[in-house]
């Protein structure tokens, strides 16, 4: 008797990049090619067949990934964008084939890579529940039994016979999630579907997810929301460049994830090509430092004295005059939270050396735990010199900002504000 729910054995997936160019092939070429590869794959397998056609512009989205998940385990799958998380979920959901390797799944799988797959705007809420349920693999009887629960969960009773194209986006997402939430597979594969909807709805989704986990069902869960992973999953897998680099308790693996983020980003800034400006001043790298101890930080904690340091270089190796530098800090939805600038602090540099490090000090960082990114901007003598969107990212972890050991709830609030309370008899 085996207790394994998912067994992944040496799974790899290769993608051909530069498909845009291949599309210009003539139809005739393609037909010949397909016929040829049909005959070829008959004997040798598709992997070898595909490799022949241009091995140079291929990329391994997943490389030799192996792991096992037991029944009842809730496993978080984390990693940066492009690490291969979605590819892995797509293979396990049988949406795309692996190039090599094998996976075995024991039990009925419900996979939720998106809420509302197959929803049709012209159909009513009622009709979409049936359609979407069927798409997710529910039997008609099952949908009929759960219909009232689904409608109640989505809170759309009044509009159930209205075409969903007339729904507000909130109602639409609620209905879509409600159908998915009533799927009862033995194994649940969930992509980042919880990042939709408003805060109240997200809380509801997370609640539903932890119910599922508590019921003892097996869940494989991809998220960028580390708090959710920490909260829901006992175990986490960290993917990087298509390989598993860490597997263990979610706390440890999440820590490793943050370490990797900061080391990776600090090296790549100088090589970025998606930047604007004449590059008279060019940012080469950044580092997050603890202001007091001047040490590089893997992750930043709330309330910490933070220094953001940038190494820069002048293109023509001459000192730079009249330099303005700005950092725009964005939240997890890429919304601008604040703007740190030499201009507003009244500290534009009259002249700086041709190379060096510019440091911005932020005492008692007033950010809640979560994921942040920042843009970098600079002008030299009024001309844009270097401008990089999403130049880097950092994670703020729990820190004792108030000295009380507590932080406010994270949904809805963006900032920590120093404050105190008292009682008087009158104004």
């Amino acid at each position: 008797m085996s207790n394994i729910a998912i067994r992944v054995d040496d799974l790899s997936k290769q993608y051909t990049i530069g498909l845009a160019q291949r599309r210009h092939d003539t139809l005739r070429d393609q037909i010949m090619d397909s016929l040829r590869s049909i005959f070829r794959s008959n004997g040798h397998g598709s992997a070898s067949g595909r490799k022949c056609s241009g091995a140079s512009n291929t990329i391994w989205a997943l490389k030799n990934v192996s792991f096992e998940v037991k029944h009842g385990e809730v496993v978080g799958l984390i990693g940066r964008n492009g690490a291969g998380k979605s590819t892995l979920l797509k293979i396990l959901s049988r949406i795309t084939d692996p190039t090599t390797g094998r996976a075995e799944i024991y039990g009925r799988v419900g996979s939720l890579l998106e809420v509302g797959t197959g929803f049709h705007g012209e159909l009513t809420g009622r009709e979409n529940i049936y359609l979407n349920g069927a798409i997710l693999g529910m039997r008609r009887g099952e949908i009929e039994n759960k219909f009232d629960q689904i409608v109640a969960f989505a809170e759309v009773e009044k509009f159930i016979d209205t075409p969903v194209k007339r729904y507000s986006s909130g109602m639409y997402v609620r209905l879509a999630f409600a159908v998915a939430a009533h799927l009862e597979p033995e194994l649940l594969i969930v992509d980042e579907v919880l990042s939709v909807g408003d805060a109240a709805f997200q809380r509801k989704c997370l609640g539903k997810m932890s119910d599922v986990a508590r019921e003892g069902r097996t869940v494989l869960f991809v998220s960028h929301n580390m708090l959710a992973v920490k909260h829901l999953c006992g175990r986490a897998l960290l993917l990087e460049g298509g390989c598993t680099v860490a597997d263990g308790s979610s706390e440890v693996v999440i820590g490793k994830y943050f370490d990797n983020i900061s080391t990776c980003n600090s090296t790549s800034l100088g090589e970025r090509t998606d930047r604007e400006g004449d590059q008279r001043l060019k940012f080469l790298a950044y580092q997050l430092l603890d202001s007091c101890r001047n040490e590089a930080l893997a992750s930043v904690s709330a309330g910490q004295d933070l220094s953001i340091a940038f190494r820069y270089e002048s293109q023509n190796r001459e000192p730079l005059k009249n330099v303005h530098v700005a950092i725009g800090i964005n939240g997890k939805y890429d919304e601008r939270l604040t703007h740190l600038s030499t201009n507003v602090s009244g500290e534009d540099f009259a002249e700086i050396p041709s190379k060096g490090v510019i440091i911005c000090h932020v005492p008692r960082l007033p950010l809640l735990p979560g994921k942040y990114s920042f843009n970098l901007f600079s002008t030299v003598s009024g001309e844009i010199s270097d401008w990089i969107q999403n130049a880097g990212a950092f994670e703020v972890v729990y820190g004792d900002f108030f000295g009380s050991g507590r932080l406010p709830p994270q949904d809805g609030s963006s900032f920590l504000t120093e404050h105190s309370w008292e009682v008087r008899s009158t104004f």
């Binding site: 008797m1 085996s2 207790n3 394994i4 993608y15 498909l19 599309r23 139809l27 393609q30 397909s34 590869s37 049909i38 794959s41 008959n42 397998g45 598709s46 992997a47 029944h71 797509k90 293979i91 396990l92 959901s93 049988r94 949406i95 795309t96 084939d97 692996p98 190039t99 090599t100 390797g101 094998r102 996976a103 075995e104 799944i105 024991y106 039990g107 009925r108 799988v109 996979s111 890579l113 998106e114 797959t117 197959g118 049709h120 012209e122 159909l123 009709e127 049936y130 359609l131 069927a134 798409i135 693999g137 039997r139 008609r140 075409p163 033995e186 508590r214 019921e215 003892g216 069902r217």
Partner: protein, 283 residues
């Protein structure tokens, strides 16, 4: 709450995921398991098709009737094309029945995969369901047009013969033709959207290569075999024979057409199954 010990004991994996190697892995079992989804896909198509139109289902009636009127005027009256001794309206409508079914099945079948790109990239189901559902939904239109045909038979005082019992066979042949070509085109359309653009042109050309407006007897004898390679020639010939009791059904045409459909269908399934594993990556 479930106890750990009560987990189902799976000795055999429910699903094994591997690179697919075999050439013909039809997986009819999976299609059968997903029959409800097939039903819902067809149902969705029917529900959505005439939403927010003024005359709604009236379009199903108007399209063939107007085509028939036009053909009768142009080909029957002006060009004086012979109609095997049957009133021309009935003669051409009996061909428009399978032709319209085929044309819209083919168009829907071809668009079915690309039109459901969102489903393809987000969820698993047997991909063959898409072209199958695409060819099935126009059968409802066919049924409605058929009622009109029955009314016309009464009006022109034409009686069906025993041949009418063979009609389902030719109906299936028409659907299989649409499926066979639709499998090829829908799979090609994923990579080359050009295919979608050629459909209206292809359908028009194909109609003139089929005996919709004229009888097969007009085609010179020595071209007959070549002509019959068009499966729709056999289908339409079969429909006319079954519905109008035309004396000499050209069985040679029907048999060659059927063989052509079989070849196209088998190769279509192989091609579709071969390309479907890359659908999600390319679409």
């Amino acid at each position: 709450m479930t106890e750990v010990s009560s987990f189902p004991d799976f000795r055999e994996p429910t699903v094994v995921i591997e690179p697919r190697k075999s050439l013909l892995h039809l997986d009819l079992k999976a299609i059968w398991e997903y029959r409800e989804l097939l039903y819902f896909l067809v149902w969705r198509d029917l529900k959505v098709r005439y939403r927010q139109t003024v005359i709604g289902i009236g379009w199903v009636v108007l399209q063939p009737v107007l085509t028939m009127v036009l053909f009768t005027a142009v080909f029957g009256n002006f060009a004086k094309i012979p109609s095997d001794g049957v009133p021309y309206p009935i003669f051409t409508y009996s061909a428009l029945l399978p032709w319209n079914l085929f044309a819209s099945s083919l168009a829907r079948g071809t668009e079915s995969v690309v039109g459901n790109a969102q489903l393809i990239s987000k969820i698993y189901f047997p991909r063959l369901l898409l072209p199958i559902s695409g060819i099935l939904s126009p059968t409802v239109d066919f049924a409605i047009s058929f009622v009109i045909f029955a009314a016309m038979m009464i009006w022109f005082r034409t009686l069906p013969t025993w041949g009418v019992l063979a009609l389902p066979l030719f109906l299936i042949l028409a659907l299989l033709t649409a499926l066979a070509v639709g499998l090829w085109l829908s799979a090609l359309n994923v990579r080359y959207r050009d295919v979608g653009h050629t459909i209206p042109f292809l359908v028009q050309l194909w109609m003139f290569a089929s005996p919709v407006a004229y009888p097969v007897s007009l085609v010179p004898e020595r071209w007959r075999v070549l002509y019959s390679l068009n499966p729709m020639a056999g289908v339409i010939e079969g429909f006319r024979w079954a519905l109008l009791g035309k004396e000499s059904p050209d069985f040679e045409v029907i048999i060659i057409s059927s063989m052509m459909v079989t070849t196209l269908l088998i190769s279509g399934v192989v091609f579709f199954k071969h390309t479907e594993r890359t659908f999600a990556d390319v679409i």
